[in-house]
């Protein structure tokens, strides 16, 4: 997928067929690397026209979720402030916190010097 920040307000935006959308789930998943590169090339025109800054491509899984934690957080908003960012008004169920593993029990190991 292709992302950037909107110049005026910094909002994270995603590429969809020649335009920019705010919701991650509305963004376009490219079929292959040439399609992605072509979109990145086209995005440069939006940079020139002072609409977005810093566009870049990132990898997503088959199911459309981002590979990197960074992009999950970028798409949703801070994981520590669910009341801020895109998660307050867009569907970001893919960013739901995973269930932590149960804590290991047992006594603390002995200490040897």
């Amino acid at each position: 997928m292709l992302t950037a920040n909107r110049l005026r307000d910094g909002e994270v935006v995603y590429w969809r067929k020649g335009e920019w959308v705010e919701a991650y789930t509305d963004g376009e998943v490219f079929a292959d690397p040439p399609a992605a590169d072509a979109a990145l090339e086209a995005a440069k025109d939006f940079v020139k026209r002072n609409i977005v800054v810093a566009p870049y491509l990132f990898d997503v899984r088959e199911d459309g979720t981002p590979v990197k934690e960074r992009e999950i957080i970028r798409a949703a908003g801070p994981s520590v402030r669910r009341d801020t960012g895109k998660q307050t008004h867009h569907d970001v169920s893919f960013a739901a916190p995973q269930k932590p593993k149960p804590r290991a029990t047992g006594e603390a190991p002995d200490v040897s010097i």
């Binding site: 920040n5 307000d9 002072n50 960074r70 190991p109 200490v111």
Partner: protein
């Protein structure tokens, strides 16, 4: 506190007007992003993971109630109703819009604030001991020199394009609460054999990917010579600091490459030249003029013991808070109160607009002129009458600002990490919160004593992990967050760089690993040893054995 003269005021207003015009030109397309970026950075405006981020300077960590209210207003009107205090005593807003920033800067200028020196390769906002002007045993208020350095360094034409950023910290006591030895220049106010007050100057400290404790360069620099001496260091750095490699551009690399003796020699040569010209000598009258701004308030003649305070100590919550969050004041009957911004499960250093307003109201009600921000991301009321403490504590409790954990294991320094930061490799805040929750039991915290956990979400070390008794560094392993443990660091007068323990832990394992480490300390400690002292006595091995034991078993 310091009040702007007409030059300061005009300078800041001019800067706001300049930046407003630059933003206008950027939006019209008259400036490209490449042209605009250095300009916005020089006004503290970054582009981060979700949005722009504005870093507001809080020179030497001092704020008035009026300024707190203005920050609350700005965060509420232009941001999401909260801000984040940083390890450089500044305040960051995570969500400002570019189009609003000129207006925000205008509001800041109304209360003598700005975002100058919060970014770029210049001398950054000077930091100082948060207990300045209040703490027992202080030789001199470090903010006097900090303000002089601010005036000298702001827009200094020779040092606007240094090889890299340059951070200066000042401390006025033997105890170092400003981490001076981890700064590009650290200054300790000292007395010489003749009883004269002057400055001990360290250079070449730093964290990041190559952590170093600073080298002692100037054993005793006379007051009138300090700017000439600092300028001499900056000149040597400006000329010989590396510009070919951003990772080797800080003065720490040059300083430790040359060694203390050679760096000192080169600085002395420059210093002699500057002194010959005589233009940077600090006149005594000017020093006195600046010092007057930092004159302590007129303290009432009070007995050091207060019946109200003594009575309140019978109450457990208050006694716990008093034990960790109060520090001895130089005036009898007064104390210094630390307001912890480290509630269990909260984001370290975050404060809401409502809390900022409420703290300002509390300052008005108790007659406090100023408040401080500490590099440990807490707030400090520097001059509190002991007899007021029970009432003050009750108010802080109402505001959810009464955590009794200053200096304890849950008083964690933590950078914004991958939740906000574009540079981060891993989240830091959720890990800090989980550690706080694991060690939430206050009795256990007090039993563990002074224990500084410092955590960064990347190698740039904004969370000072190299200087943590326990340091945690977030790394990225193929898109997954991992956490490395260091132990044995200290940012205090006994400064040291922590030692890396070994391979990192996943986000669901790191808290257990920290608990095993802490339990090991409890088993090994002797007398009143802190975890840091125990580590220094016994070394890494026993800690490493227990922290990795489970994993080793699993491996077999």
């Amino acid at each position: 506190m310091y009040r702007y003269d007409e030059f300061d005021a005009a300078m800041v207003r001019d800067r706001v007007a300049q930046f407003a015009y630059q933003v206008e030109r950027r939006l019209k397309g008259e400036l490209t992003e490449d042209e605009f970026k250095p300009l916005r950075l020089k006004n503290g405006l970054y582009l981060q993971l979700h949005s722009y981020m504005l870093r507001i300077a809080v020179p030497y960590g001092t704020l008035s109630a009026r300024q707190l209210r203005k920050l609350a207003f700005i965060a509420r009107k232009y941001d999401r109703g909260y801000g984040h205090f940083t390890t450089r005593q500044n305040l960051q807003l995570h969500w400002p819009k570019l189009v609003d920033v000129p207006e925000i800067l205008g509001h800041l200028a109304d209360v003598e604030m700005h975002c100058i020196q919060t970014s770029g390769n210049c001398v950054r906002n000077v930091t100082a001991d948060q207990f300045a002007g209040a703490v027992a045993g202080e030789l001199e208020d470090p903010r006097i020199l900090s303000e002089i350095v601010r005036q000298w360094s702001t827009f200094h034409p020779e040092f606007n394009y240094l090889p890299r950023k340059f951070k200066i910290a000042v401390s006025g006591t033997k105890e170092d609460r400003a981490a001076v030895k981890f700064h590009d220049i650290g200054i300790e106010i000292v007395k010489n054999d003749k009883g004269e007050t002057g400055y001990r100057v360290f250079a070449g400290g730093g964290m990041g990917r190559t952590p170093y404790v600073a080298l002692l360069i100037g054993q005793f620099v006379a007051k009138e010579d300090i700017l000439a001496y600092l300028e001499a260091i900056l000149r040597v750095y400006n000329e010989y600091g590396r510009r070919d490699n951003i990772h080797k551009a800080r003065i720490k690399i040059l300083a430790h490459h040359l060694g203390a003796d050679e760096l000192r020699r080169q600085v002395e040569v420059e210093f002699a030249e500057i002194k010959k010209a005589g233009t940077l000598q600090l006149p005594a009258e000017e020093l006195a003029r600046i010092a007057a701004y930092f004159a302590p308030p007129a303290f009432e003649a009070l007995s050091d013991s207060s019946p109200e305070f003594e009575a309140a100590l019978k109450e457990k919550d208050f006694a716990n808070w008093a034990k960790t969050n109060l520090t001895a004041h130089k005036a009898p009957g007064y104390t210094i109160a630390t307001i912890s911004l480290k509630n269990i499960g909260a984001t370290p250093g975050d404060i809401s607009s409502d809390q900022l307003d409420a703290v300002a109201q509390l300052m008005d009600d108790f007659g406090y002129d100023e408040i401080r921000v500490s590099h440990e991301q807490n707030l400090v009321l520097p001059h509190v009458r002991k007899k007021d403490l029970p009432k003050l504590f009750a108010r802080l409790k109402e505001l959810n600002l009464a955590s009794a954990n200053a200096g304890l294991i849950t008083d964690i320094i933590c950078c914004p990490g991958l939740d906000y930061c574009d540079l981060a490799n891993a989240r830091s805040i959720p890990i800090a919160q989980k550690i706080q929750e694991r060690f939430a039991d206050l009795e256990r915290q007090h039993d563990l004593g002074e224990l500084k956990i410092k955590m960064s979400g990347c190698i740039n070390a904004c969370g000072h992990h190299h200087a943590g008794h326990i340091g945690i560094l977030g790394v990225d392993k193929k898109g997954v967050e991992f956490y490395q443990i260091q132990i044995g660091g200290s940012g205090a007068e006994d400064a040291s760089v922590g030692e890396i323990m070994g391979p990192g832990f996943g986000k669901d394992e790191i808290v257990d690993a920290i608990e095993r480490l802490v339990d090991t300390y409890v088993k090994l400690r002797e007398g009143n040893e802190r975890l840091l002292d125990t580590y220094r006595r016994v070394g890494m091995t026993p800690f490493k054995n227990s922290v990795y034991r489970e994993q080793l078993h699993a491996a077999y």
